[in-house]
Assembly symmetry: none
DNA sequence: GATGAATGAGGTTTCATTCAT
DNA sequence: TATGAATGAAACCTCATTCAT
């Protein structure tokens, strides 16, 4: 028998590393240029492997795109991790979810880029990926829980739809990041300047909480974007 | 008998018509497939002209893209026409602006598609188009006016930044439209179903108004999503 | 009858002017970019007429090329005008012919450029233009006359072939001009600097005359390149 | 039985072969039709490869042109190999250089064709290729050496510029070849008929040597054009 | 005679993918 | 598993030419 390498099937570990490197590079390339604009050549070079290997591992550009999408959605779930919100005061939990979602889009522009592109294709690829739909479930459970607790405490209005709320909450952060460049151009300043970002993050939280507040509830103290200036209003 | 065409400088009018047809087709094609994915061939066929004529009129795909962007931004300005809001009650004006913006994105998905793509390119093209920046001016003037009047009347909080407010207001509608397909897939239903749209449009207005409300101001009666139930506040 | 313009058929004179302007522009364009590289568009713009008019007057690019060639050859004949040499001392006549030919190529680079290009096409066009061959006749008559007179006077060697001599004489000036740019690049200096040109022009004359001198004839005084220094050696 | 290929790094040797085949075909195509007139399609077919491979190896038509130029200049240097002349009698060395250069242009019309075309482009490409300038150095060293020895021996005139001499010497052969077709047309005979070529080659040698001869030096016996009659001078 | 619009064939170049090793 | 060479379909773009006016 041939000399066996210890502990693993020969090449297997390297192969997994290469696969990962390719997927990383693919996410970068797709985020930078879209699906049609991405170049298999460039992405292979970025990953440090021969172009043929990309096809060996992923079969085609389209399959690679799906794998990249899957990675993006995993990021999304990990970033909007709902567990930490379960025990919070409902308003505070919603505020954190909104701000966290904005922060997530800021930290991972590739999420925004790939979601945009996938929508350009009318979600053709994700529709065929059942695992992705399931990702939303824990998040929605948490939102429903927060809403229920807030309603029970009489601090949230009663007619809030969880889906619509999630969309609004996400949209507040999404647009800011998705349109970073055109907004920067229109307003002649960097939208990602820390001060600007902090102010907007405060707005995002305030807006969601203001919307949720029950008609008769007392207005809560507002949170400013800058912790040091809290309670200044 | 053949219909007699009006006397005119030969070719001149046809040229403008052809140019327009090409630009229309370009907006469609770019909106459907992005900049890299768009095919000059397909777009020329759609416009009913020879491929070469597209280049005759616009020079290159990139220049055609710029022309399409310009058209999109004109749509945006026309749709967010601020004049009508100038005389309204401030809260009502803001609500209308928010809902109208959402409606605009729904009616013109090409605005969303092209803005996404332009951001993928880091606004490389619009940055070189000074006319576009100026489009925001009247809109901002109106927003500032509404804010000032609301503050003066004591119904708006005092610390609202017009730019951030605009971004939030637009983002609420944008995300819903930009992610129409992935959201439809995730939630297993058509996001553009009239009932769903109406509910969300109400949310958009409510959220902006709730955010703006001054701490001590009386909560206004809520407006429903259905125009038939409109009441003057 | 319609009102007749005086003196000429209406439009005729303008038409001739336009034709000339086109031909001028064509020679420039062909000289700058060759036959394949020339652009009908560019040439029409240069001539200040609509592109269609070029086709109206000349029918096709190829026909325009032929017309340009004909103009070039006319220049060549006018430049190498042999009449003035008929009465000179034979050696001096040859010297002048050689130097004059060099000067002609320098003054009209388009001659060189178009002749090169026509040779690329294996003289396909000129072969079908009988007028062009006839252009050489008066020049050859003069060369033969100079040679005969020089031989009769015992100052020229006896075995000189007029055709070969003409080729050598022309080649001395031609190469310098045809390769102006690569030579300038190779020798890191402008080949058309007046001093360099003058020195070479002297060489050209000297070389032809030296070749022609009969074995026993006395060496003639050399002529320098700079008229002012004449007879200084 | 199949012929076993030698063991080698896969693809590597084939790639070099393909590259060479492409370059060969490119020189042929460029020589036949110029830079603008050359067709990548035709050249790829001639080389027996897919069109895409040409771009894979050379990037663009312009880069391929540069590679072809480099090959031409290598031919030029190899053909004007100066080493062999170093030990000859100075006049004989010059004569051989002149005749050899003519012979080189005859044997390799592609040299003439590509140099003409490169001059049409004002040496834009060679100017950016420093290796090419260096090619002239050994040739010039030899010319200078021949001139110095001829002057020292009192057989060459003293005022000869090496650069100008080289240009004249090359020009004598160049024009004959560059204008082969128009001259053949004008003189109604094939310029490349052996007898005609031999006579002109003799002229070329005679003319250079005659020019160089010092005023007081004895006229050397003339060399005929036909090798059979060669006599050592 | 002259124009400006329009065309279609064909040019260079790109790129996902395949294949032999 | 991995590579580097190679392909062919199709992309963008050019340009001589035609045509209605």
């Amino acid at each position: 028998m041939a000399v066996a390498r210890q502990r693993r099937k020969p090449g297997t570990r390297d192969a997994a590393l290469a696969r990962d490197a390719i997927l990383d590079a693919a996410v970068r390339e797709f985020a930078a240029r879209g699906l049609a604009g991405a170049r298999m050549d460039a992405l292979a070079r970025d990953a440090g492997v021969a172009k043929g290997l990309v096809f060996h591992h992923f079969g085609s550009k389209e399959e690679l795109w799906k794998a990249a999408l899957e990675r993006i959605y995993a990021l999304l779930r990990a970033g909007q991790d709902a567990d930490a919100l379960g025990t919070l005061d409902p308003a505070e939990g919603m505020r954190r979810l909104a701000r966290g979602t904005f922060r997530l889009f800021r930290a991972h522009p590739e999420i925004v880029a790939l979601m945009n592109e996938e929508n350009l294709h009318r979600a053709r690829h994700v529709r065929a990926m059942p695992r992705i739909r399931a990702l939303y479930n824990p998040l929605f459970a948490t939102i429903e829980d927060l809403l229920a607790r807030g309603r029970a405490a009489g601090v949230f209005r009663a007619d809030v739809d969880a889906t619509a709320l999630y969309i609004a909450l996400a949209g507040l952060g999404y647009f800011y990041c998705a349109n970073r460049w055109t907004l920067s151009s229109a307003f002649a300043g960097d939208m990602f300047a820390p001060r600007r970002v902090a102010a907007y993050e405060a707005l995002v939280g305030d807006m969601v909480v203001a919307y949720l507040r029950a008609p008769g509830a007392a207005a809560p103290a507002r949170r400013s974007a800058l912790p040091a200036r809290r309670r200044r209003e």
